[in-house]
Amino acid sequence: MSLPALQAALRRGPSFSPFVVLGDPTPELSVTLARTAAENGGDMLEIGFPYSDPVADGPAVQAAGFRSLAGGTSTRSALRLLGRIAAACPETPLNLLVYGNLVHQIGWDRFAGEAVAAGASSLLTPDIPLEEAGPLRRASERAGLGHVELAGPLTPRQRLQRLAEAADFVYLAGFQGVTGVRSAGFQAMADRLREAREQVGVPLCLGFGLSRREQITAAFAAGASIAVVGSHFARIVERIFRGPEDEERLLAAYAAAARRLAGRDGSTKN
C-alpha cells in the first residue's frame, strides 16, 4: 500500500499493528501469519527483515530473526515474501523494520525502490538515527516510501520536534530499552505519549513492550495513531511451532491473539 494510502488510513482511525518477521518460522508460513494477522484485526502490519545483529531487539524478536536466517531467508527473498504479503493484503499498510546495514549493502535508492515495488508503505531503520539518515531519507522520498524516525522516553522535546519534521510518522518506544513484553511502567508511557501528541504534528506510533488490549486502547486514547505488538507474536511462534504438524495450532493461536488485541473477541469493549 502506498504512503498516501497509509496516511489516508491513519486519518480514518487508529491502527493496531501486529509485527511479523519475514521467514519466521518458515518463509511460507510467515506470509500466512501476516495474512492471518491482517484478517483478524490487524489494521496495519509491521514487517521485520531478519538480521544477524539486531541491537534494538530483545530476546523474542532476536530469536524470531535467527529462526528466519537459519531457514535461509535473505534480503532478496524477504523482499519477495513482502511482495506476496502485499498481494494477499492489498488494503493493509505495511511498515518495514529493517536494520541499516541491510539497506546500506543493497543501496539506499535500490532498496527503497524495490520495497515500494513490493508494496511497502514506509520504513523504519532502528539503528540509523536522524543525523545519519540523510541519504536514506532522500532515497525514500524519491521512491515514495514513508520515512519513520524512532524516539524514546528520554528524547528531549526539541529533538522530538526535529524528528517529527523529518518523518512521515514517529515511532515512539514506550520504554527505555530494547523490544520485549513488559508489564510495568505503562502509565508513564501513556503520559509521555500524551505529551508528545501535543508537541508534534505527524502521526505517532507506539511500540516496545505492548502485549495487552488495555495497553492498546490506552495508547489510542493518549493519541497514538498506531500501536505495534511485536514480541508477543514472536513468542507465540516460539512456543508453538516445532514443525509442519504445528501449523494449524499456530495459525489458530495467532488469529486468536490478533482478535483479542484488536478488541474483536467480545471480551473487551473498545
Partner: protein, 398 residues
C-alpha cells in the same frame, strides 16, 4: 541535514558516524560531553597520569631485539605494552574510561569481551574503583577461555553468557549495547576497542595514544629521529591506532597494520576486515566489515581470539582509504611461527595478537613488504601467558 558530508557524527572521511538506536543517543551524547568537558581538565589528566604510573605501570620500555632482528633481517624495536598490568595494552583504555565514568557519576561498568582480556581489565579497574562490573561474553568464548572467566569473577565481576547469534564477541557487543539502552542512567559501557558509535573511536584512541607518544619520545631520545616503519596488529584496532596516532603527521614514517589471516585469505576462515571486507554498518559505525552479499554479518576466524572481530575501528578504514596506513594479513600458521621465533630468540613470549605483527616482520625480507634496512617500531601489545594452553594443545614442535 544537507547531506554534504556523511556520516555526520564524528566521521573519519567516509567512515565512522553514530549508527545507534535513538534510545542510545542520550548516553552517547552524555559521553561526548564528558569527553569534551572532563577529559582535558588538569584534574582528570593528573589523576590519569598518577594511576597510569602506579596501577597500570607506565611508562613501558622500548626493547631492542638484536637476535630477533637478525632473523628478520631488519632492525626491530618493541614497545613493551605486554609489560602493563594485566598483560596487555587494554589497561590504558579501561583506566581512562573508568575514571571518566566515575567523574560522570556512574556506578556500574559493562563491557564485552571475546578472549577475556578486555573483560578482565574491566573487572580489575572496577574492583580498584569499587564499581560494579558486568561482562558480556559469548557462550562459545566462555568455554574456550575458562581461566579468564574465573579471573574476572575473582575480581568481583559478573560474567553473563551470551547465548544468541554466533555466541561470540560481536554478539557480546550487541548484548552490552542492549543493556546500556536501559541502564544508561547508572551505567557506563566500557567499550574495549577504538570502534563503535561516536565518540568511542576517538575516546579509546585518545586513551591508547599514550603508546605512540611515549614510543616516539623514547625513540628520539635513544636512537634519534623517527622509526622508518611502525607495525601493529589490528583486530578492532585499538593498540594499532594507539601507536600510529603520534606518527600520523610524520609522512616519512610508514604505518602497517596486520590483520588475522586465519586459515588464509583464499578461504572464508579469516578476520581480515580491511584487506578483504567491504564498507558497511556494524556496532554503531560505518567501517570495513565482513558481510555477505546481502549485508548479514559473517563470523570471522583467527587463532587469536583478540583479533576475531568482523569489524574494525573506522579510523583504520579511513587511514586505509587515504593510503596513510597499509594493511596486510598474516595467517594463523605465520603467527604461530613468529610466536615461537620471538620466544626462542629474545625470551619474550608474545600474545597471539602481536604475533601477527611479528609474522609480517619475519616475512618482509622475502615479500618486500618492508624496505630492506628499515628500522621498525613494533607494538608488542600483549604477553602470551593466556595463549599457552592453546599453543601446547596444538602439539607443535618448537
Amino acid at each position: 541535514m544537507t547531506g554534504e558530508s556523511w556520516p555526520h557524527s564524528g566521521a573519519f572521511g567516509e567512515f565512522g558516524g553514530r549508527f545507534a538506536p535513538e534510545l542510545l543517543l542520550p548516553a552517547l551524547e552524555e559521553l561526548e560531553a564528558a569527553r569534551r568537558d572532563i577529559v582535558p581538565t588538569p584534574d582528570f589528566q593528573q589523576e590519569l597520569d598518577r594511576e597510569a604510573a602506579q596501577w597500570v605501570g607506565r611508562p613501558t620500555p622500548l626493547t631492542a631485539a638484536p637476535r630477533f632482528s637478525r632473523r628478520a633481517g631488519l632492525e626491530v624495536v618493541f614497545k613493551r605494552e605486554d609489560l602493563l598490568h594485566g598483560g596487555a595494552h587494554k589497561a590504558n583504555n579501561v583506566l581512562g574510561q573508568a575514571l571518566l565514568a566515575r567523574a560522570m557519576g556512574k556506578t556500574r561498568l559493562i563491557a564485552e569481551t571475546g578472549a577475556g582480556q578486555h573483560g578482565a581489565a574491566t573487572a580489575m579497574i572496577a574492583a580498584r574503583f569499587g564499581m560494579e562490573a558486568v561482562i558480556y561474553m559469548g557462550e562459545r568464548d566462555m568455554e574456550r577461555q575458562a581461566p579468564n572467566v574465573k579471573r574476572m569473577e575473582l575480581c568481583g565481576a559478573r560474567v553473563v553468557p551470551v547465548a544468541i547469534g554466533a555466541r561470540t564477541l560481536k554478539d557480546a557487543i550487541n548484548e552490552a549495547l542492549r543493556d546500556w539502552t536501559h541502564s544508561l542512567g547508572t551505567t557506563h559501557y566500557l567499550l574495549g576497542t577504538a570502534a563503535g558509535p561516536h565518540p568511542f573511536p576517538r575516546l579509546v584512541r585518545d586513551f591508547q595514544a599514550v603508546i605512540g607518544r611515549e614510543a616516539k619520545a623514547q625513540w628520539e631520545a635513544r636512537f634519534g629521529g623517527l622509526p622508518d616503519v611502525v607495525v601493529a596488529c589490528v583486530g578492532g584496532g585499538s593498540n594499532a591506532i594507539g601507536i600510529f596516532h603520534a606518527f600520523l603527521g610524520e609522512a616519512e614514517v610508514g604505518l602497517i597494520g596486520v590483520e588475522p589471516g586465519g586459515d588464509g585469505l583464499e578461504t572464508d576462515r579469516h578476520g581480515a576486515t580491511l584487506v578483504r571486507g567491504t564498507p558497511g554498518l556494524l556496532h554503531g559505525a560505518r567501517t570495513m566489515i565482513l558481510q555477505d552479499a546481502e549485508g548479514q554479518i559473517l563470523e570471522p576466524h583467527s587463532i587469536s581470539a583478540g583479533l576475531d572481530y568482523p569489524g574494525v575501528g573506522p579510523e583504520h578504514a579511513h587511514l586505509q582509504a587515504t593510503g596513510r596506513a597499509r594493511y596486510v594479513a598474516a595467517t594463523d600458521d605465520e603467527a604461530l611461527a613468529a610466536f615461537e621465533a620471538l620466544s626462542e630468540s629474545e625470551g619474550i613470549v608474545p600474545a597471539f595478537e602481536p604475533s601477527h605483527a611479528l609474522a609480517l616482520v619475519l616475512r618482509a625480507r622475502e615479500t618486500g613488504e618492508i624496505a630492506e634496512g628499515a628500522r621498525v617500531l613494533l607494538n608488542l601489545c600483549g604477553r602470551g601467558d593466556k595463549d599457552l594452553d592453546t599453543y601446547f594443545a596444538l602439539g607443535r614442535q618448537a
